[in-house]
């Protein structure tokens, strides 16, 4: 499997970041960074990562099932994550998630038919004091109201959204 030069560079760095013989350590970050590039964790990716890190595909499978950010199925180009954990919940996070599902016409972990947007109700993302919060891919958005949410979605659809992370 071939990846972009930037990702290959990251992989090369990862594999030398850990003590000798400990390349298994690279499995989780490698899967996440690769998923960001190819959209999901494919079987081919599983075998590739297993091979590069010197583990069995089963050992990679075990990891994928464990971590909630690793997805076997493709996500949308923009993965919209709405936090409904208690800090967000008590200031409208659940309402915001309901609004998101209705607006986008998709349920939890589903993707819009055009593949542009996927939605996920997530656990606490570390923006509690600025709740309710969402993440679009890795960007945080704080104090998100329904109106702000609609603007963000419009920007995604218009192609005017600028990612920071």
């Amino acid at each position: 499997m071939t990846f972009s030069p930037a990702l290959e560079e990251r992989f090369a760095k990862l594999l030398t970041s850990y003590p000798p013989g400990r390349q298994r350590s690279a499995v989780v970050p490698m899967l996440l960074y690769a998923q960001d590039e190819i959209g999901h964790v494919s079987q081919e990716l599983v075998e590739e990562v297993a091979c590069r890190c010197g583990v069995t595909p089963l050992q990679v499978d075990e990891v994928i099932g464990y971590y909630s950010m690793l997805h076997r199925k493709p996500l949308g180009k923009y993965h919209v994550q709405v936090c409904t954990n208690i800090s967000c919940q008590v200031v409208g996070g659940e309402d915001l998630y309901g609004h998101a599902a209705r607006t986008l016409g998709i349920g939890n972990k589903q993707v819009t038919p055009d593949g542009l947007i996927s939605l996920e109700e997530v656990e606490c993302m570390g923006a509690c004091s600025w709740a309710p919060a969402i993440q679009i891919n890795y960007d945080f958005h704080h104090f998100v109201t329904r109106e702000r949410f609609d603007q963000l979605i419009q920007a995604l659809r218009d192609g005017t959204y600028q990612e920071t992370a």
Binding site: C53, Y67, Q81, G126, Y138, A165
Partner: protein, 434 residues
């Protein structure tokens, strides 16, 4: 960048550079006391550094509140084997959003803290384990690490001492359990984030089965401050055995939620009323969750306490991660209890029976209860199930789920009973035969 306006009541020590322009850059850092502590530490014996930490009475800011000096003193030195410095930046405790700020606004401070830890045990490698969602923060840390390498603070022959120290970021991928230190170490080794049997403790056999210092982001970020100002002076900011300041993450129904650096022992009611501008919409205070979602809820009348580890423990809750959720009179406590247990059921790693099955059962009962299918026996059942988990699970996640659940039922039983009145099935359940 800060996301809330600072309060004049804060004691800004570890957040002192947060509002400076380009606060994340090494130049800003160097111009504002940066790396003074490392230079000082290099002239100190390891035991002296640990003594300063002991004197500071710094307690772990991740949740357990274990004395940091003591933790460092457990790490065997001069073993001839590699040792590691691990920063726990897996910040996942609901209501907690401070480690993120420390990385975004002052990454060099964290690096300096890790360097001092590394110097203390003569470790040559460190990893910052950052939750996968914090990609932006990982990038900031990586830029900061690169800057520190450029300036000779990292890499070969740090500051001409002949000592080498390499530092790396390591991304998680979504698992609350990895905040548990041994689960974090498993995850760092490329495995499922399932906690390890203890002993051995990470101090002796941690990362890659080697001696390891493993601390929370805020704890390590505090280390340079302590070395610079001296342990005793730092301790004096707080209360006895609860030294210094901490970042308190206030969320919920206050006018000015935000992250504020306050001395330990700062009164909770002053935090709500003076720092955070009081209750939103002039509602009445109903309850506070004082230390992240794992901390048992305090009723309004229990909130007249100072915010330090021992005082909150005395109130039968815990200071935990410093996440403080303020709830007003309109809050549906059953809904909060349900959302809390949903979280733990989602995050239970599944390793041990009581946590795996207990959290899910509680989630199911509370869901049914919340959705109008509650039965009168459910209230006691919830309490009993929580009790059957408490103290019996492999790691603290089970307790973290059971304690708040038990507290919600015990303290807001009337709200649970009110739900029953709306329930369509508030009759005794027929007992299913096993």
């Amino acid at each position: 960048m800060r996301y809330n306006v600072p309060s004049p009541l804060e004691t800004r020590i570890i957040s002192q550079r947060f509002d400076l322009p380009n606060s994340a850059s090494i130049d800003t850092y160097l111009a504002n006391d940066g790396y003074v502590a490392l230079r000082k530490a290099i002239g100190m014996a390891p035991e002296a550094i640990i003594d300063e930490l002991r004197a500071s009475s710094l307690r772990g800011r991740g949740g357990a509140g274990f004395p940091t000096g003591m933790k460092w003193s457990f790490v065997p030195r001069n073993t001839g084997r590699p040792s590691y410095i691990i920063c726990n930046s897996d910040e996942s405790e609901p209501c907690t959003c401070k480690d993120r700020l420390l990385m975004e606004n002052d990454p060099q401070q964290l690096i300096e803290g890790m360097l001092i830890a590394g110097w203390t045990i003569q470790s040559s490698k460190g990893y910052i384990f950052i939750r996968g969602e914090y990609r932006y923060q990982i990038e900031i840390m990586e830029r900061a690490i690169a800057e520190a390498y450029e300036r000779g603070y990292l890499g070969k022959n740090v500051l001409g001492t002949g000592w080498d120290f390499d530092l790396y970021t390591h991304s998680g991928a979504g698992a609350y359990e990895c905040g548990e230190e041994t689960a974090l170490l498993e995850s760092l080794e490329g495995k499922r984030g399932v906690p390890r049997l203890k002993p051995p403790f990470p101090a002796v056999a941690g990362a890659f089965q080697s001696p390891t210092i493993l601390n929370n982001t805020e704890t390590l970020s505090t280390v340079p401050v302590i070395i610079r100002m001296g342990g005793a002076d730092y301790a004096a900011l707080g209360t006895p055995k609860n030294g210094g300041t901490r970042l308190m993450c206030v969320s919920g129904h206050v006018n000015k939620p935000g992250v504020y650096e306050l001395p330990l022992g700062f009164p909770l009611m002053r935090l709500i009323n003076d720092v955070c501008g009081g209750m939103r919409n002039r509602k009445k205070l109903k309850a506070v969750i004082p230390g992240g979602s794992s901390a048992p809820v305090l009723k309004a009348e229990e909130c007249d306490i100072p915010l330090d580890f021992d005082s909150i423990a005395k109130a039968k809750s815990m200071a935990g991660s410093g996440g403080i959720l303020v709830l007003d009179e309109d809050t549906d406590m059953v809904a909060v209890a349900l959302r809390t247990i949903k979280f733990y059921a989602h995050e239970s790693c599944g390793w041990c029976i009581p946590c795996r099955e207990g959290t899910t059962w509680l989630k199911k009962v509370l869901t049914r209860f919340h959705d109008g299918g509650g039965r009168s026996s459910d209230i006691d059942l919830i309490a009993e199930l929580a009790n059957n988990m408490l103290g019996r699970t492999f790691c603290a996640l089970g307790d973290a789920a059971a304690m708040p659940t038990a507290a919600f039922v015990a303290k807001f039983r009337d709200e649970f009973e009110a739900y029953l009145k709306r329930s369509s099935a508030a009759v005794e359940p027929e007992l299913a035969v096993v």
